[in-house]
């Protein structure tokens, strides 16, 4: 990424994550240390409270994408009959398990003792984890988070979540042989809460002009809040990142020579083209400063009852962006445009992710017609490089920026 001044905290994050992966690798040969594979929107606090090491297949898949080894790993899954139209994360993960190859030290992730699947991100994970269960023959804890079609989350759904989370706490205790103590759980939830607040604050700092870091950076700095949410290390890391951002704001350090245009990003990152995208937008003096994707990991429900942490947690796990219908998404996008002073939106129409992508055409049209916000749609995939063309995407970015520039000049 073309940064005028590199972000110091990135090295710290790599250290933190590196340590975590090493621990996970060591746990593979330690029968007393349980490992669970969990979805990115899953209630990981319960695992941390139970002393279980969480592994995130989605994270691993994203790394494979960034390292550009995803295609060859996917091919292994495709040979088994997994359609190329299926989510590339799932194909990468299943391919990794079947081939033994992966992005962390060349090999696949340490095997799970059990699986935790929460469908608050999509329905694909349900099928993916069913397949993982068939492969590993281990218990699968399934948390069903009902999709919220309205803008207000229904209490019946929160009740449903709460009952399932209670059950999960029991189940994890049974699997590890150690019931999870209430105090430990409360402590973990508190740590998670603080981390989530920090992550939100950091992202809100990008409202500053110029933004001290951009969305492509946030995609990278996302890892700890996803995997280590509920640990002390996670909080320390984000405290240091926040301090660095405040420093950069004070010194007027932005991410471009000249931040002329500010944009928002919707959907997952295009992991194997972060550099290309960052540079192409930079050429137009455009900075991406906020994304619905990274904000997903700091969702806290509107009416969360802090006196009842488990219920608040239940509400939070329903609260994510893509667990909601289009009215909610429209409201969020418009708020983003206002809060971050955006000149336009870039929507990644991600072939792998129907949950995130379907409805974008409707939202794009609404943002244009109702709010006058220019929107660029980029057709690509989060991991699968076969869906990409530098030429075509670059062309569209150029045309879009020409439009944004000319619009801004007139207003």
């Amino acid at each position: 990424m073309s940064q005028r001044v590199p972000i110091r905290s990135t090295a710290k994050m790599k250290e933190l994550m590196g340590f975590y992966y090493m621990m996970a690798k060591a746990a593979e040969n330690d029968p007393s240390q349980k490992i669970a594979w969990i979805t990115s929107g899953g209630p990981v606090e319960i695992l941390h409270a139970g002393g279980v090491i969480p592994i995130y297949p989605e994270n691993v898949a994203a790394m494979a994408g960034t390292m550009k080894i995803s295609d060859e790993i996917c091919a292994v899954a495709e040979e088994q009959g997994f359609s190329r139209d299926l989510c590339s994360y799932a194909r990468t993960d299943i391919g990794s398990v079947l081939s033994g190859k992966g992005p962390i030290m060349g090999s696949a992730s340490p095997k799970p003792d059990f699986l935790v699947c929460c469908n608050n991100i999509c329905g694909t994970v349900t099928k993916w984890y069913e397949e993982l269960q068939r492969i590993f023959n281990v218990p699968l804890i399934f948390i069903d988070a009902p999709f919220q079609y309205g803008t207000k989350d229904r209490p019946e759904a929160i009740d449903y979540m709460e009952a399932q989370l209670k059950k999960m706490i029991e189940q994890v205790g049974e699997i590890t042989g150690n019931p999870i103590s209430w105090d430990k759980l409360m402590e973990t939830l508190e740590l998670a809460d603080r981390a989530v607040k920090l992550w939100r604050e950091i992202q809100d700092l990008l409202q500053h002009k110029p933004a001290p870091m951009n969305s492509f950076d946030t995609f990278i700095h996302l890892a700890p809040i996803v995997t280590l949410r509920g640990t002390q290390g996670c909080i320390e890391y984000y405290e240091s990142l926040k301090a660095e951002m405040l420093e950069r704001i004070e010194q007027g350090i932005g991410t471009l020579e000249k931040e002329e245009y500010r944009l928002g990003w919707d959907n997952l990152a295009i992991w194997y083209k972060i550099k290309f995208l960052s540079e192409r937008f930079s050429q137009h003096n455009a900075a991406l400063v906020v994304s619905t994707y990274t904000r997903s990991f700091c969702y806290q429900a509107e009416d969360r009852d802090i006196s009842n942490p488990l219920r608040a947690m239940s509400a939070d796990y329903l609260a994510g962006y893509i667990n909601h219908g289009l009215d909610f998404r429209e409201r969020e996008l418009y708020q983003m445009v206002k809060d971050f002073s955006l000149d336009g939106l870039v929507m990644h129409s991600n072939r792998s992710c129907r949950a995130y992508s379907f409805g974008q055409y409707e939202l794009a049209r609404t943002m244009e017609d109702k709010y006058g916000v220019p929107v660029l749609l980029i057709e690509a995939d989060q991991n699968d490089t076969r869906m990409w063309s530098d030429e075509q995407v670059g062309n569209r970015i150029d045309a879009f920026m020409e439009r944004v520039a000319s619009k801004k000049k007139r207003t």
Binding site: Q80, G81, D85, L86, E130, D144, R354, F358
Partner: protein, 378 residues
């Protein structure tokens, strides 16, 4: 009593020219029509609410209007349904019911709600977890909410008596359809797969009261027909296609016999257990949660291969053809496992990717023919 089988079929086939022939006729007669997309939709509830529930199926033809709102990687079923909604082809509906099933349906419901005007929409939040007390509680509460929505829209109260009556009617229909499937399994020569699918298709598009009468006549007629030898290879079709007739016909045109199916618009529509004892809404919730799950739902411990192997063995099936709608994720995820299990049992299978809004392409016919040839050579 006892209509001639041809007369029965004459009635059944009315839906081939116009899927909504019966719905539109009823509408002209002043009745209210509720369109539903998924077999998890509590049809009995709409029926008790005074609606004639019909299945919303896509149609043949391009989807230029839907293409404006859904990406090219949306399944042809979703696109076709949305397109028909946008052209006004579904304007005869008084209510449209979506259920939460897969990611595509979830977002389709939203796009429809915002872009198709004039028809009230209900979205049923079916739990994706198909087991256990916790999910059951959630579903019960959801069904109460749906019931109240229907009452609000229709202006009519749904009494327990009416609901129970509707549930019994639907149970009777299920029993009839399952009986027909059983008869065919034991004696595939009774009718072709193409004929069977006419009965199946019409079951979603005719009133259950009328369809029951026709079915009962048909069953009586077929019950005592002695089995005849089948020389053709016997096929089980599975997969995610909704409108199967064109494909079934193509398969039979190359000399095979489609004897059974594991299709959503087929045997999977009749998998609810018998109506249990208790309060109607509770009973409904129990039934819907304990049914054989659709691949989009999670039932701990359920093995999707079991039903294939069972049907293959019980019906002396020679081969399985998967009709896989392009971009249907739930089925596509099950496929590698199904293929593996079938291979382990020595059951040949063929995967065909299909579009639901196009005529059956030449490439399909060629592949099926090649597959049937291999079965003939066994």
């Amino acid at each position: 009593m006892g209509l001639d089988v041809n007369d029965l079929f004459h009635l059944f086939t009315k839906v081939q020219d116009d899927l909504y022939y019966f719905a539109k006729k009823a509408k002209q007669g002043g009745e209210k029509i509720a369109g539903f997309l998924c077999t998890y939709s509590p049809q009995e509830l709409f029926h008790a609410g005074g609606y004639f529930p019909v299945r919303v199926i896509g149609g043949e033809g391009g989807t230029p209007l839907a293409d404006q709102w859904l990406q090219p990687y949306a399944c042809s079923f979703a696109k076709s349904v949305l397109n028909l909604g946008l052209t006004g082809d579904f304007s005869f509906l008084d209510l449209v019911v979506f259920s939460h099933t897969c990611d595509t349906m979830q977002n389709l419901a939203e796009v429809w709600r915002r872009r198709v005007e004039g028809i009230p929409v209900i979205i049923v939040s079916t739990p994706n977890l198909n087991a256990g007390e916790i999910a059951l509680t959630y579903l019960k509460r959801e069904l109460v909410r749906v019931k109240e929505e229907v009452e609000r829209i229709s202006g009519d109260k749904i009494t327990d008596e009416r609901l129970l009556e509707s549930m019994r009617l639907y149970e009777r229909h299920r029993n009839n359809m399952n009986r027909l499937y059983q008869l065919r399994q034991a004696n595939p020569s009774l009718m072709t797969g193409t004929e069977m699918f006419v009965v199946v298709l019409s079951s979603f598009l005719m009133k259950k009261e009328e369809h029951n009468t026709l079915l009962e006549d048909l069953i009586k007629t077929l019950e005592n027909v002695p089995p005849q030898e089948i020389k053709r290879p016997r096929i089980l079709v599975g997969g995610s296609v909704c409108q199967a007739q064109g494909f079934i016909q193509s398969i039979e045109a190359v000399g095979a016999l489609v004897c059974n199916d594991d299709l959503c618009m087929g045997s999977r529509s009749y998998v609810l257990p018998p109506v249990p004892q208790g309060e109607p809404i509770d009973m409904l919730a129990q039934m819907y949660l304990s049914r054989i799950p659709c691949p989009a739902f999670h039932k701990p411990g359920y093995d999707p291969a079991e039903i294939y192997i069972e049907k293959v063995k019980a019906g002396n099936i020679d081969g399985v053809i998967f009709l896989q709608t392009k971009f249907c994720d739930p089925y596509a995820f099950n496929y590698p496992y199904l293929r593996k299990r079938l291979e382990q049992e020595g059951i040949p299978s063929l995967l065909l990717e299909v579009e639901q809004n196009q005529p059956v392409p030449e490439a399909f016919r060629t592949r099926v023919e090649a597959f049937v040839e291999t079965l003939n050579n066994r």
